[in-house]
Amino acid sequence: MAKPRILIFTAMASLGLAACGTSSPGGNANAPTKVQIAAEGPFTGDEASIGAGALRGIKLAVKDFNDKGGVHGTKVDLVIWDDNHKAQTATTLQAQGISDPTILGIVGPMNSSVVEASEPGLQSASPPLPFVTESASAIKVTDAGYGVAHRVNARDDKQAALDGQFMIDQGAKRVEVLDSATDYSRPLADAVQNYLKTKAPTIQVKRDSATNGQTNFSTVVTNMKAFNADWVFFADEGTETAPLVQQMKQATLQIGQNIQFLGTDGEDDPSIVTSSQGAYLGAYASNVTADPQSVSTAASFVSAYKSAYGSDAISQAGPFYGSAYAATQVLLQAIANSTVSNGKISRNDVLSHLGSDTFNTILGPIKYDNKGDVANVTIGIFQAKGTTASPQMASVKSVSG
């Protein structure tokens, strides 16, 4: 009789232990020992004003996720990589993530040029290091065929169509298309120029170029004036816009009066109104992501952002604070859905879940196609309004698709 009793006792003990293993979060056998993600972007440097707001969004998303229990009870640690808008800095920082298997993914990088330089290294790492960018919109980011690439924002081809159509609808006749000679800016300006040429061949287009960091635009402004442009399209990451519009004003090209201005993502930034001493008021800027303030599912996020960072924090948040929160949600949900084995989560598994799962985010559900693009993204056009001291970007047009 002794033997069956021992067997029953052993069986009961095993069942009990097994039950413990699948119980609620908090120090259980299924919890990973360490989970880290990296936030990468230009948190200092020429684009610090857009990077800072995005970083705040990421921090808030990690905090909210951890407050709800993290990954099976393990809190996620956020590592901050400030790439300074420089590809070389980015790859150096990423090398440390590649060698640390507990870093399971990156939210960012934010700039297309940095993403494009990073992709080969992230893909060839063993295992590959996936990323979800909140703002990189160049077509090549996902068209290059790297499986690690994912984004929550729209691509340049969608943005170019929105921009081109907006100018056509507004009655543009002579458009000065300007780029700032970066990997991001030039293809986007090309795409808008092609769109105008195809859809409205009667519109005359003049193409000019600035350089990254340029402050003296007198030559370009003279060209613009001689061309008698009624619209300026400037594909830029935001840094060069304030001196340009200010010098346009000094050359009597006043936005909203005798000329209209359409910028892109980085220029959907009210701080340009202040830095241009008011010359930017009235300018339009398109954005590859939705404004969280106009998305009903993001209402609680907007209030949480204000309560965390101050009631005026939204006006300084730049264009990507909402998409940064959403990108972090995507990455964290993919991690949470991955299998924990011996206290570890494999990056390969995270990558596979990024490709197959549907993620609930503040900007709506996200499901990736085989390139890492989202089928349905809301993008919009905003206008600089208010005063020099208290500017804002107000939503003018919103398109889904």
Partner: protein, 308 residues
């Protein structure tokens, strides 16, 4: 052709304005090279520090677009602080980094200068601001646009041009018409012989750095007022272009630096306006290559055989 005729005067004015800033900074390069035969690559960053000092003074006195004291007084203070601060910085750099290497291999001070340049950029980036800093020029100087026929230039642009020209004339008079200027020229010609003639060469070198750096400092103020912004990287490309201007003019020659700067500005402006704005920066360096091929000593430089 119409387009060319219509924009030619405006592009000329644009080029002269940009060129006057190159020339002002080029003077610092050429002064130091004339005396020490060294390339002070940190000079562009001394200009940047001048811009930040001016922005700091403006930030102290301008709140919400309104100057707390008369605007003219703020501008005078900006000029004084930027010239003084940059001048002292230049002297400090010479004393700490260059003087100990005066008799070293020629590469040593060159590498040190590049190091100082990176150091200044990093310190300003980390300690002051990695992002561009606003200079509230609309609260300090007139934003009026001066119009003459088809040609328009903002008051700040015209001020930059006129102030730069006046400073260059003043420097020329100082070097060619004063006793100390004679000492500078003597030191430039033959440092050893100048010492034998009783010239305090160390003092001449200190004053040379002081003048060159102070000019860069006021260049920073003029730049800030014109473009309403300063950033830690602004001295890099501008410094390289000013150095190019000094080489085109004949490095070591003051009048050459002025002509080189103005020529470079105008070439850039014409190239960007009439050929392609996508290659605007490249025109400066193309001009350098052409001048060096045709006249290696620069437009106003002495051939090396004459100097020896």
């Amino acid at each position: 052709m119409d387009y060319f005729l219509q924009t030619f005067p405006q592009q000329l004015v644009n080029g002269l304005e940009a060129g006057s800033l190159y020339a002002l900074i080029a003077l610092g390069y050429t002064l130091v090279y004339g005396i020490l035969e060294m390339l002070n690559f940190a000079h562009g960053d001394v200009f940047m520090v001048g811009g930040f000092l001016a922005a700091g003074v403006a930030g102290l006195f301008v709140h919400n677009g309104v100057a707390a004291v008369p605007a003219a007084l703020v501008v005078i203070l900006m000029v004084a602080v930027a010239m003084g601060g940059s001048g002292l910085l230049g002297v400090g750099i010479e004393r700490i980094a260059y003087r100990p290497l005066r008799n070293a291999n020629r590469l040593a001070p060159l590498i040190t200068a590049i190091g100082i340049s990176l150091l200044l950029e990093s310190v300003v980036q980390v300690q002051i601001s990695p992002a561009p800093v606003l200079v509230p020029s609309n609260a300090l100087v007139s934003q009026r646009v001066l119009q003459l026929g088809n040609v328009a230039t903002p008051f700040t642009g015209a001020t930059l041009f006129i102030a730069a020209l006046l400073l260059m004339v003043a420097l020329d008079l100082f070097v060619f018409r004063t006793r100390f200027g004679s000492a500078m020229r003597a030191t430039a010609q033959d440092r050893e012989a100048a010492t034998f003639m009783g010239i305090d060469v160390d003092r001449v070198i200190v004053v040379t750095f002081l003048i060159g750096s102070a000019l860069a400092g006021i260049g920073g103020v003029l730049y800030g007022l014109r473009f309403a912004t300063v950033d830690f990287f602004m001295g890099y490309l501008l410094g390289i272009k000013a150095f190019t201007a000094a080489v085109i003019g004949g490095i070591g020659n003051l009048r050459g630096a002025v002509v080189g700067g103005l020529l470079l500005g105008v070439l850039e402006s014409f190239g960007g306006g009439f050929i392609s704005s996508q290659y605007q920066d490249a025109f400066a360096f193309l001009a350098l290559i052409v001048v060096l091929l045709v006249r290696p000593q620069g437009l106003f430089g002495q051939p090396l055989t004459d100097r020896a």
